[in-house]
């Protein structure tokens, strides 16, 4: 356990405007010792650029609108093409099980659904940092 000063970018992507989950997880990760960059709404390209500039270990995408199958794969592709594949991507929010499976196949490390305890997310991120 323990965050060991890991850095994480928390962002929402596209027009999705429900920030409750994003801010709650961002504050909780900060309280657990993570260095958190809270970005608000960004485009997929903006997320990748910010993540590289801020030299984060993780990108956490909070998604409620259902746009994840369109917006998350370009983030993964762009990280690879910019040699930033060591940045781990995780997703939280409303993601149907089949989509979660597909996102994980494409390289998302984990998808955290509604009701998932914050502590379990903190523990998960504290322990695993998998480059792909």
């Amino acid at each position: 356990m323990g965050a060991g000063h890991k850095r994480i970018l928390i962002a929402k992507v596209g027009m999705d405007a429900h920030w409750r989950g994003a801010i709650v997880i961002a504050r909780s990760l900060r309280d657990a010792g993570f260095e958190v960059v809270f970005a608000g709404n960004l485009s997929p390209a903006g997320i990748v650029a910010t993540a590289i500039q801020e030299a984060v270990d993780y990108i956490g995408i909070s998604s409620l609108s259902g746009n994840h199958m369109i917006t998350v794969p370009p983030i993964l592709d762009s990280l690879r093409s910019k040699n930033a594949g060591d940045i781990t991507v995780v997703v939280g929010g409303i993601v149907p099980p089949d989509d979660a499976k597909e996102l994980k196949r494409l390289g998302v490390l984990e998808v955290f659904g509604p009701g998932r305890s914050i502590q379990s997310i903190v523990d998960f991120l504290g322990q695993s940092h998998k480059a792909w």
């Binding site: 027009m15 405007a17 920030w19 801010i23 709650v24 909780s28 259902g66 746009n67 659904g113 914050i118």
Partner: protein, 556 residues
Amino acid sequence: MLQKTSGVGKLSKKASWINKCYPFQMERKSRFSTLSGIPVQPVYTDEDLDGLDYAKDLGYPGEAPFTRGVHPTMYRGRLWTMRQLAGFGPPEETNKRYKLLLAQGATGINGVFDYPTLRGFNSDHPEAQADAGRGGVAIDSLEDMMILFDGIPIDDVSVSLVTCQPVGTVPVLAMYLAQAEKRNISFEKLAGTTQNDFLMETAVTIGWNILPPRYSFKLSCDVIEYCVKHVPRWNPISIAGYNYREAGANAVQELGLCLAHGIACVEELLSRGMAVDDFAPRISFFLNSHNDFFEEIAKFRAARKLWCEIMTERFGARDPRSQKFRFHVQTAGSALTAQQPLNNITRAAYHALAAVLGGAQSVHIDGYDEALCTPTETSALIALRTQQVLQHETNVTCTVDPLGGSYFVENLTHEMGRRVTDYIAKIESMGGLVESASKGWVHDEIADSAVQYQKAVESGEMLVVGVNCHTLEDQPVEIFAQPETLNRQKAKLGELRKRRDQAAVQTALGTIREACRRMDNVMPSVIEAAKSWVTEGEIAEVFRQEWGCWDPPLRL
């Protein structure tokens, strides 16, 4: 608090009884309180109503201060409107869902729009494409609006347009009005509501490229001013406490922000030279019904009393309609769980019962799959049937304000009123709601409460069935399949751009720009633009260009 003061050294009857029967160790918890943190006592008696004056604090239904209800007959005269939210994909698909709900007994339309429409972007805008048709229906032009309401008797059924922020409200309402005009339905016949809440844009659901609070608020007041003068049966604003709550606010904050918002609107419209009784009857509200059953009922009752006091004492409103807090309720989406989703049917039914015992004018019940996806046809129908069971089978509609006079509910209503009044005073001491939002205070308030709520769930202090107790392995449920939207919208936009009169489009946009620069009411020019087939994104882009975008103070 309403409470009898007892003589020094002498306990009241209730205090003696508590001392005798309620030693600390006999209770399950060290502290009982409402969700917003109001302490709840073991029992309430007539001692807790000391100081309550029936005529001054409650009154008869339909009479000031309207604590017991805004109409003398309430549900004996007319049942609440069953206004089930619907909207997804392209307008052709949502039109079918509207017709299904009306055919199954819904008594009003409650149309929700997709993220790009709410934020004033066309479906084919590069940043918007991923969200086209998500969370609501995509509307890009008057053509889409005509498809959306094709065959819907809008001169007979009231239509709520859940447009959230003013930047989307202005063009969407303009297209709705233009659509009515094309059908030769006069504006006088149109009954309905637009949400039109500047906090939605600037604090509660912040998106990409948003207008500064001052301008977003200006647009919302333009809509109110225009409708009061030209669309007399329209509720041009529905102050969205529901969404403040969903973002994290507690019940006190929800109502406090709502009423402070109402005050801000009244002040702005007065400053535009209007008389209070000319516009105040058209201001309406939208509240949440969450888990804490009695606190929610107390909130609804306190809301009516406080609004009446504000309107009469502060603004000198004479027309009883100006004094009436009329509200729509939606059951709390944030209280629903993705785990064991069928349990949400039960939750939403309790939420709706609280709304009805609190005297709501219209109600939406959430679909059980809300924490997973847009409601499927099955879940939308069950939600409507839950309303119908409540209306026809429970008999809760037989008498007005059935909980009036309950020691507990009256005490809680009073305490809620006291706390909300303090909260409003705090907002006013910072210069009012627009200023509080500009500074980020509203954002902090809501975010702090959201974090606190989550901590209570995490610690197990707040039990959520299926989440932190009584858990089961996840079971598969039917997930709503989003209909193809982007390509259909792109095709229509492409055709529209080719066939419309380009010079008329440019002239219409120029007129809107002029209105923005002069800070005139933009509505007349936007309605003209809608009729010239100017798209939603083009209209909103003028606002963004003229007034700039704002970096919201949403902080960690």
